[in-house]
């Protein structure tokens, strides 16, 4: 019985934290947000060198063959540093699609490139976790029609697209008939947008069970976003505590006031059990198939709620400074906001958790 991280897992997190600090941390994120470059090739390259892009890809395909819990631990660090790097789509959901539904040729063609960071894969399935504006994709005679919004890891070379029947398809970013429209969202660290398919020739992933693969992708994607929120919220709490210790009002550090202390304690008390929830949900993805989907829903919904609470409370502890661009706390606030809505907001995900347990039709 061991419910905790191994030495290797702690080392992975430490190595990733060192690397992300080395990229410049918030300064790198600011440069990304301000710049025209919609990719951060230096960050992606570094992640590839650390094995993070190929974390769950088998060694035979150039990856390191680790677990989805390891991937969640990586996502946590990316959230902590509000890093402008693609991850949940290209390093987790797309490889899962290829591994679970792709044939040997498709796996050999793409997995090594994703592992090395030579290619980035976006994932277009948000219509299956709640369609907005009537979006959705249909497959007819080997061609895709329709629209997919809020693509995860949108700045990509390749898209994994789920159609309305939960069939999966590969589409090159430059495929004829595919139109990309960039979106601007609150979160400048993760570019997104929509894809319009006008009879785009697509390559189906049909070697495995498509709907099961889609289920696994959604579950894993949700746990990655939950882990990202865990990291971002932990950093916001750490920043709030540090700020409160340094900020002096009424002749004393505001950290000595119970009103401020209790705000920080409430953040810590809500957040600390979330760490275990994310570990469990991450572990369940690989090892507890009967619980995996429900736990992914709970991790996603609960981290969304706690993350939102921490994001607001940490900002308040910083007073007026928290509201400014000077401190940059808003990058974390917005990151948590993105994680909350993408792949199903908390209400939608809780409704799904009830259905999965047979408590609702």
């Amino acid at each position: 019985m061991e419910f905790g991280l191994s030495e290797e897992q702690v080392m992975l997190q430490d190595a990733l934290a060192r690397f992300l600090t080395g990229t410049g941390g918030l300064a790198r994120t600011r440069a990304f947000a301000a710049g025209e470059d919609r990719r951060a090739p230096d960050v992606l390259q570094g992640l590839a060198e650390l094995g993070v892009t190929g974390l769950i890809i088998p060694e035979a395909h150039g990856g390191v063959g680790l677990s989805l819990l390891d991937a969640a631990l990586a996502a946590e660090q990316l959230g902590r540093f509000v890093s402008p790097a693609p991850f949940a789509g290209t390093a987790v959901m797309a490889p899962l699609a290829l591994l679970k539904a792709g044939d040997a040729g498709q796996q050999a063609a793409w997995l090594p490139k994703l592992a090395s960071g030579a290619a980035v894969a976006g994932v277009a399935l948000s219509e299956l976790t709640g369609a907005r504006d009537g979006a959705g994709v249909e497959a007819r005679d080997g061609r895709l029609h329709g629209r997919a919004q809020f693509v995860v890891d949108y700045e990509a070379d390749l898209y994994v697209v789920a159609d309305r029947t939960r069939g999966l398809h590969l589409v090159a970013a430059d495929a004829p008939g595919l139109t990309r429209t960039d979106f601007r969202t609150i979160d400048a660290t993760r570019p997104t947008g929509e894809l319009v398919f006008d009879g785009v020739a697509a390559e189906p992933l049909k070697a495995g069970d498509g709907p099961a693969a889609v289920r696994a992708m959604i579950d894993a994607g949700r746990v990655m976003l939950a882990a990202d929120t865990l990291g971002a919220a932990q950093d916001m709490l750490d920043q709030a505590v540090a700020y409160a210790k340094g900020r002096v009002q009424f002749g004393r550090a505001i950290a000595t006031f119970q009103a401020v202390k209790h705000m920080c304690a409430e953040m810590a008390a809500s957040l600390e059990p979330c760490r275990s929830l994310v570990w469990y949900a991450g572990h369940a993805l690989d090892h507890l198939p009967e619980e995996a989907s429900v736990m992914a829903c709970h991790a996603k919904a609960h981290l969304s709620e706690v993350g939102t609470f921490v994001a607001r409370t940490s900002t308040e502890v910083h007073g007026g400074m928290g509201f400014t661009d000077l401190v940059g706390l808003h990058y974390w606030f917005k990151r948590i906001g993105y994680n909350r809505q993408v792949l199903g907001g908390p209400q939608a995900v809780r409704a799904e958790a009830a259905v999965l347990q047979g408590l609702a039709a």
Binding site: G4, T256, A269, H298
Partner: protein
């Protein structure tokens, strides 16, 4: 990460199940007697498991996983896990740690067997969250302590044979260093007990008044002025036990059953998406605390530390339980108001009772506000409030 139990533990689980099957009829509530059941559990190592044999326990090596398996299997069989109470859960561990050899021999055995019931004399009207401000005085006269003062919130004082009590014996020492930990018989002349009815309608608490209560000098645990240290070791013990996430899980399951059974305008409450959303939100939080509990269990087994994870249990657990029980009352609506011996009562009134009872636990055993101070100061390393200058 490995959530499986090794064959040794699986075998142990089978053994516990076998015992429970074979002896079910001897359990209290199944026709058996509580004291006989306790004796049987101690003989088989399912109660007082790690307490040395010479003091009346079973004498096994501490094994957190085996203790957990015992707890799980008794809960699963819905049979009494043996006697509890403050003597067994708080005094016995304290005596084992700091009691004299004579005290261990005199008190532990009868306490474990349920022959000696204890109450805890800590809180006072003017010493609640600031427990170390307690003012009950103990003055040494010859070879006796003479005790005067008042305790409050004293659970089971009306049933207890003995009390373990914090008393100020060194009035000139700093407040944390002037307290002693005394043991005495509740039949000693000069003790008056007045029941204190709480909001649930029960009188589990009491006020206890001491007027010239004379206690033999040797009935002190630790040395004079060390009572605060002695008491603190077991207060930590109490806090974690107030919010068992496995109990929370069974309460959640009962809530789901309730929502399937209760109707609103002819439809099951579980079929109403507003109620269902709230249920799922609570379930998510219960899961988070269960995972946190798993982490604490694993950390204890593998000798790792997760201090913050431990510090949040009392705060989060009691608050969530209060909310869960209150939501069940909402599920029943007006029917949730029914309480006591009345028609149409659901679940014996347990939802409403626990809703109120857990408000008591949010306050008792270190209030939520005190828990937040602990989390901030010890967990997040935030500075203490500056002390006011003495007037």
């Amino acid at each position: 990460m490995d959530l499986s139990y090794s064959p040794e533990y699986e075998a142990f689980r089978t053994e516990v199940r076998g015992f429970l099957e074979a002896h079910r009829s001897q359990a209290p509530g199944q026709g058996g007697n509580g004291l006989t059941w306790q004796k049987l559990l101690i003989e088989n190592g399912y109660a007082a498991r790690t307490i040395p044999r010479e003091y009346g326990g079973y004498g096994a090596e501490p094994d957190i996983l085996k203790s957990r398996i015992i707890a799980e299997e008794f809960a699963r069989a819905q049979l009494s896990p043996g006697l509890g109470g403050q003597g067994i859960s708080m005094l016995v561990p304290t005596l084992l740690e700091v009691g004299s050899e004579d005290q261990k021999r005199q008190f532990i055995g009868p306490t474990l067997r349920g022959e000696m019931l204890w109450c805890q004399g800590y809180s006072e009207p003017n010493a609640g969250s600031d427990l170390a401000a307690l003012a009950t005085r103990g003055v040494l006269e010859g070879d006796e302590w003479v005790i005067n003062g008042q305790k409050i919130w004293t659970s089971t004082a009306h049933l207890a044979h003995w009390i373990f009590c914090l008393v100020r014996t060194e009035p000139d020492a700093p407040k944390h260093e002037g307290i002693s930990f005394l043991l005495f018989d509740m039949k000693t002349p000069g003790i008056e007990i007045r029941p204190l009815v709480d909001m649930t309608g029960a009188a589990n608490f009491n006020e206890v008044f001491f007027t010239d209560v004379r206690v033999p000098a040797h009935q002190i645990v630790g040395r004079r002025g060390e009572g605060w240290k002695v008491a603190n070791a077991i207060l930590r013990h109490e806090r974690g036990s107030l919010a068992d996430p496995n109990v929370m899980q069974s309460r959640l399951n009962a809530l789901i059953d309730l929502m399937k059974a209760e109707t609103l305008d002819g439809s099951r409450v579980i079929d109403n998406p507003v109620y269902r959303d709230r249920l799922m939100a609570i379930q998510g939080r219960v899961q988070a605390l269960r995972c946190n509990d798993l982490r604490l269990l694993s950390a204890a087994v593998n000798r790792q530390s997760a201090p913050l994870a431990g510090m949040v249990v009392k705060l989060q657990g009691t608050e969530l339980r209060h909310e869960l029980e209150g939501f069940a009352v909402d599920v029943m609506g007006e029917l949730g108001l029914l309480y006591g011996d009345t028609p149409r009562l659901r679940g014996g009134g347990s939802w409403q009772r626990d809703y109120m009872y857990f408000l008591g636990l949010i306050i008792g055993g270190g209030t939520s506000q005190i828990q937040k101070n602990i989390i901030a100061e010890r967990g997040l390393d935030m500075p203490r409030e500056p002390k006011l200058a003495r007037a």
